[in-house]
Symmetry: C2
Subunit: 402 residues, 2 copies
Amino acid sequence: MPNLHPLSGSVCAPQGFRAAGVAAGIKPSGGLDVALIVSDRPATAAAVFTTNRVCAAPVIVSREHLQDGRARVVAVNAGNANAVTGSRGMDDARRMAQVAAEAAGVPVDEVIVASTGVIGRFLPMERVESGLRAAGRELSAQGDGQAARAIMTTDTRPKEVAVEIAVEGRPIRIGGMCKGSGMIAPNMATMLAFLTTDAEVWPEVLQPALLAATERTFNCVTVDGDCSTNDTLAILANGASGVRVAPGSPAHAAFCEGLLHVCTHLAKELARDGEGATKLVEIEVRGAPTTVEARQVGLSIANSPLVKTALFGNDPNWGRILCAAGYSGVSVDPARIALTLCGVPLLRDGAPVPFDEATTSQAMKAPQVRVELDLGLGEQSSTVWTCDMSYDYVRINAEYTT
Amino acid sequence: MPNLHPLSGSVCAPQGFRAAGVAAGIKPSGGLDVALIVSDRPATAAAVFTTNRVCAAPVIVSREHLQDGRARVVAVNAGNANAVTGSRGMDDARRMAQVAAEAAGVPVDEVIVASTGVIGRFLPMERVESGLRAAGRELSAQGDGQAARAIMTTDTRPKEVAVEIAVEGRPIRIGGMCKGSGMIAPNMATMLAFLTTDAEVWPEVLQPALLAATERTFNCVTVDGDCSTNDTLAILANGASGVRVAPGSPAHAAFCEGLLHVCTHLAKELARDGEGATKLVEIEVRGAPTTVEARQVGLSIANSPLVKTALFGNDPNWGRILCAAGYSGVSVDPARIALTLCGVPLLRDGAPVPFDEATTSQAMKAPQVRVELDLGLGEQSSTVWTCDMSYDYVRINAEYTT
């Protein structure tokens, strides 16, 4: 996209946003664990939440607050998910929103709250509250880096992105941060992503734009129907750029493209930094009757522990990929399938192609591995991202709370 | 069941069956890898096969041969799945049946063939054929132990069971063997199970009886819709006991009970010996509107890598269990859920119950761990079995072919 320029930073790159990240003592490590993102002016907002029936208290509170399509504060804690905590958890989430609202000087229903960490424990509210107040005092236009660190759990690095897009000569900016990192299967740890933009985008435009970008990005790293209790993706649009994104306008197209770019970057970072990951795996499924079926096959492969362990072992055991396609629920025809791994053709018309295992295994040692599957059934395609499954995945998750 | 007596051995425990297991050089280890099970007299047969769209050649051939409800030979090789091998794989599977038929002296359409091992490689037919001929020469009524070893892949031990049931004073016997062992998720390695009985059971009785037992046993160790390319469960009934299992008779009830016992034993052994397993995990879901929904919730928990790694780490991180119930697709109500782990109540009416983590973690170190989840929504229940996910799971599957 020629008129899209990368910027440093994340949610503070767009005009009129400040952020902060502080250590409130919620994480046993003593690391940063409370983040605040604030728009200096009124903002519209949209969000996508977990579809898990067991959804966390902050998700319920944020849904309520977003009913009018407006919000200008995001308040987050890491280290405790405030999920499966009954009515006390609901009280705590509401209190968290209230304290954040006071710290930012906005009405409480303009606050989105999010929590991530261990499930089933009550929030240490004294620490959360003092953390939010401290974050309120530290808000700055350079605070996004700290905020991005404060939302991390088992992530090994913060995930930030920002772009500027020229719309008929006038710039708008979109920034974002996210945390994973248990993206190794769809039932993994919480995904939180927070985006900001200084474009003016009305709620009826913002929500569909966010959903469309999500379908092709976050929902392609297996964070979809099978998501955690706390998954939250939210965007604030404060209009500080003076550029309005009217439906069907050139600004609309540019905004959607910029949003897709930001979401794609973050989604791939989630996969690349999956728990214990040693490599990013990109799976492109082509030749499907529909994009939905292409993605379904891709996610089935991406979620297979057998495929993921083989990728970790640099083992071109491609039968496991075919097997996962076979049980995806899509009516694949084995006799039509073609498969390429790291550029090496392995299967054509459903029959094995002779290949050099040592060379292919060597190619699999790259930090990014590409799987291409052509179903031979249609014209549609979808790309999904995942990572391999290593010893560290087991270590991280066997030792999480105790 | 008072009139059910355990016997030693497996498929040769019923009268009129012989078996053998030989080393044919298919497994790189040089271990036993070709098995033959033969009824000395005509037999009826029933089977349940994989529902994977990418199903292996031997599955297609066995389905054809079972159309008339009759078979008296089971021929198996381990070390190579003969899956995704195109038309040459089909030729090989047919040839395997033909050679087994000649070795056993029966028509080819009375042979069930099965293969397990790596996908996407052609069978070494010379070795398979000489192995089948050698097995034919070695058939004996004491050969079931060798046969049970010959069907193993990553299994750490053979899995055998046999029982005698008295039906109005006359004994019938049922025996069985199976192999896993990647039962850690529903998309795992091949499950093969072969049962024999000396009861006389017509095909129209045998197939429903097998399906009913499967639903409550093998389909509760997550080997169901999401199964491998080769999954096969077959039973031969040769009538050598002289006892006929007529529909609705006392013999019918006794036979079904015996079959359930045999299948339950084998299913639990599969879970207990899952790849890298350090413990058997039994998950009972109660209070569901239907048994199907109870099982769906149980399997969702049983398949969660986060739950499985926590079980490996003896970590009572029960939030992961709730989370997996939440995304099971069943409309659970978090406020009604009760959870017990190793007999320790952790959750009541959707809220955490204080518990001693150290004691609970200690209890989780047992070789068998029990999870009880009451959904509070109805009267139905289901029990599923699985195992934990350890470092060895990753090791085994990262190093399988290379």
